[in-house]
Amino acid sequence: MIRVQREDFDVGVEVAAFSAGDAGVGAICTFVGLVRGGDGNGVTAMTLDHYPGMTERQMAAIESEARSRWPLSDVLVIHRFGRLEAGARIVLVATASAHREAAFQACQFLMDWLKTRAPFWKLEHTPGGDRWVEAKASDDALAERWDG
């Protein structure tokens, strides 16, 4: 399940509802990405630009790919857009499977592909002005480990 929203989400509520009542689930892996701030980078907030329509399409395609690669009982991806203050949640990925390795790997895969394929762009707000975040080669490298 995919959600793209401006509103915050409650990790506890989402995880409680996630894969509830599925007796075959033995492992749930969850990842939450947050706006880092404070520690010297000077970021007080960021604004997430996105491409409505394509975002949902890409995220659905990424979910399908994960389900085709691992035996997953359930998948949840929530990605926010708009202005987010330092410390705010940006993204939640949750995966449920019979076994832990599938849950862990699918969760990492989903994050790696979201980072490199989902049409979101971060604009950081700092006391010195705004700056668009540049894509990281390290993210490309992490995404490429799932190729082939």
Partner: protein
Amino acid sequence: MKVLYFAWLRTRIGLGEEEVTPPAGIADVAGLIAWLKERSPGHQTAFADLRAVRVAVNQDHVGFDHPVAAGDEVAFFPPVTGG
């Protein structure tokens, strides 16, 4: 043809969306970019370094050699930075 700009391409061009009618002969993304660059100094700046530009046609990531036609939705943006 609808053309969309995101992130710093939108900032440089000064708009997020425009409806354009390229002349016949503009058959692919690369041709469209060359034509769009003539529209304003902002377009010129935004498309100055194509290594930093990505493109989607009808909401699918494609290469610069991908065909474009009337009725397409073509989006230009930098490499994505979500997640």
